[in-house]
């Protein structure tokens, strides 16, 4: 069923692309869909372009595991559209032709701007491409039973086909279709969540028996743990970074890892899940990993308003959120940590109970009550999300597909309505996953599709096909923007390579092939990272490299070409460097995040003001001298 729906959808999309491709002959048609898209269609296509894997897979996954902190992305991503509407939309339409570079270079015709803006477009688009491709790989594993890298390759191949056939025309209609379907079926999924209500022992309507995790009391004397319950013996105790302790227990010849929770002289060992990599392969929860032995999906309430064995039945949306927010509602969330046990590498997924009161406000991932550096990191994230949207090249080029400035404005408003509605739904989908036992503890990105599976295979098939189309639509937009940067900005404008209209289209398609190939490689390399976090970084690079140039160009008359080129260069390099030396990337490199020279994960608070400052200073230093008036 899932495979049939998925294949039908993909075939339809590719067929549509070939049909539109037969009508696309000019560069205006390839890069800007002839500038004749209706604002209503463009508005939903905006939503289809913008609601990427990060929004659907990443945000829902982050809400499912970190509560309100995931919803912060929804708020920031939507708020960014106000910058686009109030400041950018109409001037962008007035100034540009096909690409972001056209707009920033409109008043200058500067080779420096062309080069810097084209490179910036490529860098931002590639940063944004990585999480989309990671999301594609994540999707095909449960859907088609294929390995992660095959999903990445499949998306790359289909998108290259879409873009290389008809460019912006097919991309627009794929995004329109996918944006509309995503919102409709996400609404259906949320209605299902509300109809089911909340239970402390979720069993997915009887489909999957609820696994009750056990706890064992222990006593501690010095460094020695003793278990009163018969049959258990403590084989080893591991101290892990962050003050965590885990015990390896033995019983009936089997070994298992337990999380040690110590409170007020009471020691409790909590049942956990664990993956052990041995010379003979991977073992999960004490058995060899196989098709039938995988990590159990998790996520449930420990108590519902103080009741440990309760079920609500259907709830309204406000009642649902109020129930989750209650101080006596306790949620069992899951964390993970890895360590070595002799020659074996152990990863333990252990439970942590958090009250709804704490989960439904910021603080689980972004430590707003922490040190000033942690507060600065939070501010930096919110700044980048707010300013990043209006600086994303693949979003900005959509303003060239409509006929006039009023259409640019109206399509932005349609986008705000559609995207805003979807982001409200993300909170319910994330909390639904958190409480319905559908989270894969090793990869939160699949939370929303797995939530849909708990309501039946048909909904799972449709949601997965749409999620896959979500990746297709966004990647297509990114590749159109990137191919425009290469063929239009660099080859045509910067290098002045003489090409007729047909050759320009061929150059764009060739660039699409190459960029698609790069995207496939990066998607495989970055497997396993939360896609929303990665997109957040792309926003920071866009906000640092592009937004100061666009804003100052529009609102500061002393802006010069050299000022813009310097600002783009410094914004791009500084944000990338700050990211490369951040704690989160150090973790990715396999190093201790505490050793990272930059203590912030989000670079915007430094790189955005720096980019503005450079633009102002360089512009003031490169003002043209005015001739003194002759008497």
């Amino acid at each position: 069923m899932a495979i049939f729906v998925f294949l039908a959808f993909v075939l339809f999309v590719v067929g549509l692309s070939f049909y539109l491709g037969s009508k696309t002959k000019t560069s205006a048609g390839y890069y800007a869909a002839g500038g004749q898209i209706h604002w209503g269609v463009n508005g939903i296509a905006f939503a289809g372009d913008y609601l990427s894997a990060a929004s659907f897979l990443g945000i829902c996954g982050m809400i499912a595991t970190a509560g309100y902190d995931g919803f912060l992305y929804s708020i920031g991503y939507l708020a960014g559209w106000m910058v686009a509407l109030f400041v950018i939309a109409e001037p962008m339409k007035r100034l540009g032709k096909y690409t972001f570079t056209d707009a920033v270079d409109a008043n200058y015709n500067s080779r420096g701007i062309k080069l810097c803006a084209a490179i910036s477009t490529l860098v931002v688009s590639v940063c944004y491409l990585i999480p989309q491709m990671v999301g594609a790989g994540v999707l095909v594993e449960p859907l088609l039973g294929l390995a992660h890298h095959w999903g990445v390759i499949m998306v790359g191949a289909i998108v290259i086909a879409i873009v290389a056939t008809a460019g912006m025309s097919s991309t627009t209609y794929v995004q329109f279709l996918k944006g509309g379907l995503l919102i409709i079926f996400s609404t259906i999924l949320v209605v299902c969540v509300l109809m089911r209500g909340i239970s402390t022992k979720p069993d997915q309507d009887g489909q999957v028996p609820f696994h009750e995790y056990t706890s064992i009391s222990a006593t501690k004397s010095g460094d020695t743990f003793t278990i009163a319950d018969g049959g258990w013996s403590v084989l080893a105790v591991k101290d892990v970074k962050g003050g965590l302790q885990f015990a390896k227990l033995g019983k009936d010849g089997k070994e298992s890892w337990w999380y040690i929770s110590t409170t007020d002289n009471t020691v409790t060992l909590k049942e956990s899940q664990f993956v052990v990599v041995k010379p003979d392969g991977k073992w999960i929860n004490g058995e060899k990993a196989s098709e039938t032995n995988k990590l159990r999906q998790v996520g449930n309430l420990e108590s519902l308003k103080g009741d440990v064995n309760a079920k609500t039945g259907s709830l309204g949306p406000v009642e649902y959120l109020a129930t989750m927010t209650d101080k006596d509602t306790l949620v069992k969330t899951w964390k993970s940590t890895s360590f070595a046990d002799g020659e074996q590498k152990v990863t333990v997924y252990y439970p942590k109970v958090v009250s709804g009161e704490k989960l439904l406000r910021p603080g689980q991932k972004f430590k707003v009550e922490g040190t000033w550096l942690e507060k600065l990191d939070f501010t930096s994230l919110m700044l980048a999300l707010f300013l990043g949207t209006a600086a994303l090249p693949h979003i900005l080029i959509r303003y060239y597909t409509v006929p006039n400035q009023a259409s640019a404005r109206k399509s932005t408003i349609v986008a705000i309505a559609a995207i805003g509605f979807f982001y409200v739904l993300t909170l319910f989908m994330g909390l639904g996953a958190m409480t319905n036992g559908v989270i894969n503890p090793a990869d939160s990105n699949m939370s929303a599709p797995l939530l849909s599976r708990s309501f039946g295979e048909l909904l799972f098939a449709i949601i997965s096909a749409i999620a896959f189309a979500t990746v297709l639509g966004t990647v297509a937009g990114l590749i159109v923007a990137s191919s425009g940067a290469v063929a239009h900005d660099l080859m045509d404008r910067y290098m002045n390579i003489k090409m007729d209209d047909r050759q320009k289209v061929t150059a764009g398609k060739t660039a699409a092939f190459v960029i698609g190939g790069i995207a496939i490689l990066l998607g495989i390399l970055f497997k396993g990272m939360n896609v929303t976090f990665l997109v957040g970084l792309a926003f920071a690079v866009a906000a640092s490299a592009n937004l100061p140039a666009v804003l100052m160009l529009l609102f500061w008359k002393k802006t010069t070409a050299k000022g813009i080129a310097a600002s783009i260069t410094v914004g791009m390099i500084s944000s990338l460097a700050l990211i490369a030396f951040s704690p989160e990337l150090y973790t990715l490199y396999g190093k201790n995040p505490l050793d990272a020279p930059i203590p912030l994960n989000n670079p915007g608070i430094i790189s955005i003001p720096l980019s503005f400052l450079i633009l102002v200073v360089v512009s003031l230093l490169t003002q043209k001298k005015t001739e003194p008036a002759k008497a």
Binding site: I75, L78, V87, L360, R361, R409, K410, I413, G420, L427
Partner: protein, 99 residues
Amino acid sequence: MLHEPSLPVGKDPAGPYKTRLGIQMFIAYCLFYAGFVAINLLSPKAMAAIILMGLNLATVYGFALIIVALIMALIYNALCTAKEAELAAPETPTNQGGN
């Protein structure tokens, strides 16, 4: 022309009005957004306060940021459209009749 729009864009007499209005509304929304960030930084526990129908400040403020965005967008569009229509309308002759 190197960077001409893909389709010719006509003269927009309402342009200065729309720019001014856009900046004013942008600043207003910025302040609203900054308020959300500021509360989280200065008084994060206040976000847990139940303020409406069992919902806490974080949820209500978060939804408000989304809903207010749409309301402001609609108001902006209505004002811009009205100004465009006003400036595009043919001028009424002031002296049509003779003696």
